[in-house]
């Protein structure tokens, strides 16, 4: 039971009565003409603005989306069951805002920022508009710091930088959310705040993600914004924008944040529903004409801003720090079709994509990333030195392996060089597999990639590589903790570190049989 604190409540009431604005301002009023499927048509409201909040009887709010000659089309934010034809609707003169700030960390909120986790009210000091213009060219800085995802395959081959937009795309049930959750878990201790926006998912799936984050101690630095499948389409459409404003709070104050939109396909569906009900003309796949703008204006707000912008924004309180908001949008494809409307749009907007493939998933390669078509267009500049130096060979090894693997199915005998390449490729593929919820540090990745590059895996049976990895990592942790800590702290790679790796691996191979 919640404790009732009489003095505290009286205080609040007193201050509210004191501060209540009772001035009788002239207000614009209209009459509800029709209520259908969450869309309200209003006659009157001559002075309404696009995107303005409209107040209905009973404290229900809506948002004006269509301004026509004789009527206004609005979506209801919440329950529209109590609304009826003939009721009054009033302009508020405000645009939609959500609470932002550190008070939200560790909480689960809906698209309007109301808590839905039963942990009591959120006393956020600040609110911010959900629709904002992205920082301009002058205010930006290029991406050159990494976001460690903790998955070897991603950090080695498609590195992600702070302020980048990297799309996670693939069919249903293929591990898109798993990558996102691993990315959040790996931000523990990195200072990057995380926002997980769940759109149109089952409430049970959202609860499962929240529970996993709590289990791994990752909920403290995370805000979950949930618009589940049972929420109105308007909420599902607004949730990513609300989450983005919460992330911008950190970006604008010289901090780093990571936001995951899971997934934007459902947001596009919700927006399509609203648009069709508002009688906007349908285009390709029945999406409205501005579905590209819907995603481009959202993803453009994920950016890295320069110290001048941060200093100006905080009135000189924060000096010499860049801020960033990294976005990982998720798109679900139907049977691997990336040339559908929304996937092509979002691929073209983002700075690269992680493409997950059903065949690889079924073959047991998890994460099921296809290294050939997955790219990161800006992350290379942000990659940690050690991973960058060591992982150069991985991509080519996998590319050659794929080519040869297809070819070798028909050829009966192969020359030695080809066999060696196939062998190496097979081992690297095996090495790129990684269990869920077990992100690796830079040093751990470094030592594994070093081992693969320098032929230490050659003697190991392919099926034993997983065991080899865990044995090697626990050995490194026990015997070479100093070296590992040094790498994790600096991310550097030099001859000393290479020598340290070599000595450690030689000793490990010598003492164990594989």
């Amino acid at each position: 039971m919640q404790q009732l604190n009489p003095s505290e409540i009286s205080e609040i009431i007193k201050s509210r009565i004191d501060n209540l604005n009772v001035s009788s301002e002239a207000q614009n009023e209209g009459t509800i003409v029709s209520v259908s499927d969450g869309i309200i048509r209003i006659h009157g409201l001559d002075d309404v603005m696009y995107g303005e909040m409209i107040e209905f009887d009973g404290g229900v709010y809506g948002m004006a989306l269509n301004l026509e000659r004789d009527s206004v089309g609005a979506v209801v934010l919440g329950d529209y069951q109590g609304l009826a034809e003939g009721q009054k609707a009033r302009c508020t003169g405000r645009v939609l805002e959500v609470p932002v700030g550190p008070e939200l960390e560790g909480r689960v909120v809906d698209a309007l920022g109301n808590p839905i986790d039963g942990k009591g009210p959120i006393n956020a000091a600040l609110t911010d508009a959900i629709e904002k213009v992205a920082p301009g060219v002058i205010e930006r800085q290029s991406v050159d710091q990494p976001v460690q995802i903790g998955l070897k395959a991603i950090d080695a081959m498609v590195p992600i930088g702070r302020g980048q937009r990297e799309l996670i795309i693939g069919d249903r049930q293929i591990g898109k959310t798993a990558i996102a959750v691993d990315a959040i878990i790996n931000q523990k201790g990195s200072g990057i705040k995380c926002i997980y926006v769940a759109i149109g998912q089952k409430a049970a799936s959202v609860a499962a993600v929240v529970r996993k984050l709590e289990e791994h101690g990752a909920m403290e630095h995370t805000i979950v914004v949930a618009a589940t499948a049972s929420d109105p389409a308007a909420m599902q459409f607004l949730a990513p924008f609300a989450g983005c404003s919460m992330g911008e709070y950190y970006r604008d104050r010289g901090q780093d944040a990571l936001i995951i939109y899971d997934d934007l396909t459902k947001q596009a569906w919700a927006y399509r529903q609203i648009s069709l009900l508002l009688k906007r003309p349908p285009g390709r796949e029945a999406y409205p004409g501005d579905v590209f703008y819907l995603h481009s204006r959202l993803l453009e707000r994920a950016a890295r801003v320069n110290p001048t912008y941060v200093e100006k924004f905080t009135n000189g309180e924060v000096k010499g720090k860049t801020g960033s908001l990294t976005a990982l949008p998720v798109i679900e494809t139907q049977a691997g079709d990336v040339s559908a409307f929304v996937p092509t749009n979002v691929i073209s907007i983002t700075d690269g994509q992680i493409f997950l493939e059903a065949d690889m998933f079924n073959a047991g390669v998890r994460p099921a990333m296809n290294a050939g078509i997955s790219v990161s267009r800006v992350g290379g500049a942000a990659q940690t030195k050690i991973i960058k130096k060591l992982s150069g060979g991985i991509r080519t090894a996998l590319a050659q392996y794929r080519e040869l693997a297809a070819f070798s199915q028909f050829a009966s005998d192969l020359d030695e060089a080809t066999k060696a390449q196939l062998d190496h490729g097979e081992r690297v593929t095996e090495l790129m597999k990684q269990k869920q919820y077990s992100p690796q540090s830079i040093a751990e990745m470094g030592v594994m990639v070093y081992a693969a590059d320098n032929g230490y895996l050659q003697a190991v049976e392919v099926s034993k590589i997983g065991d080899f990895e865990s044995a090697l990592l626990s050995y490194m942790k026990a015997e070479h903790a100093d070296l590992m800590a040094q790498i994790n702290a600096s991310g550097d790679y030099n001859d000393d570190i290479a020598a340290g790796f070599k000595a450690a691996l030689d000793k490990f191979i010598a003492t164990q049989t594989w």
Partner: protein
């Protein structure tokens, strides 16, 4: 609703411009109001919706019912409407005509709902204040509503000024809720 007013707009505009050149805004306004009221009668509505009655018959019937309220041009107007099968737009046309007329005359209808009887001096004060604020000639109508508890609500078109005790209490309730 929205669609009807869109359809009614060109007719209202044409009628207004004609009446203006003829210098008979008041007369046209009354004729249209009568015709609009007639077109809203339930049996007339049925007549207008019936496909078995020709457009000509509909126009004749309406003109006969309205009788002296329509001059010759007014009768022509109904005939034009009937040719396009738009007679059921008459109430909307009448309403839009009055809006155009009020705009031209720089007048506005204001409805004041008060909790207590307003004496002549108070009414004059209100009219003066509203005329300066809205920059229009004010035609005021006063209604009584005890449930407002105190103060008054002023309604001029879409603009509402809520100065009632009930409105303030509702605001307080909302702020305590949030």
């Amino acid at each position: 609703m929205a669609e009807l007013s869109t359809l009614a707009r060109p007719y209202a505009k044409a009628a207004f411009e004609f009446a203006e050149t003829a210098g008979d805004l008041q007369g046209w306004s009354q004729s249209l109001a009568t015709a609009g009221a007639v077109a809203q009668q339930s049996n007339v509505v049925r007549l207008l919706a019936s496909p078995s009655v020709t457009a000509d018959q509909q126009a004749q019937a309406l003109i006969e019912i309205c009788g002296d309220a329509l001059n010759e041009q007014g009768q022509n107007f109904l005939t034009v409407l009937s040719e396009n099968r738009r007679l059921q737009l008459l109430p909307d046309i009448s309403q839009q005509f009055d809006v155009l007329k009020a705009n031209r005359e720089k007048a506005v209808d204001v409805e004041v709902t008060a909790a207590h009887e307003l004496d002549a001096e108070q009414q004059q004060k209100l009219i003066d204040a509203l005329s300066t604020k809205l920059e229009r000639k004010v035609n005021m109508q006063v209604r009584l509503d005890k449930s407002l508890l105190g103060g008054a609500v002023i309604r001029a078109g879409d603009t509402v000024i809520d100065g009632s005790i009930r409105g303030r209490l509702a605001k307080l309730a909302e702020s305590l809720h949030s």
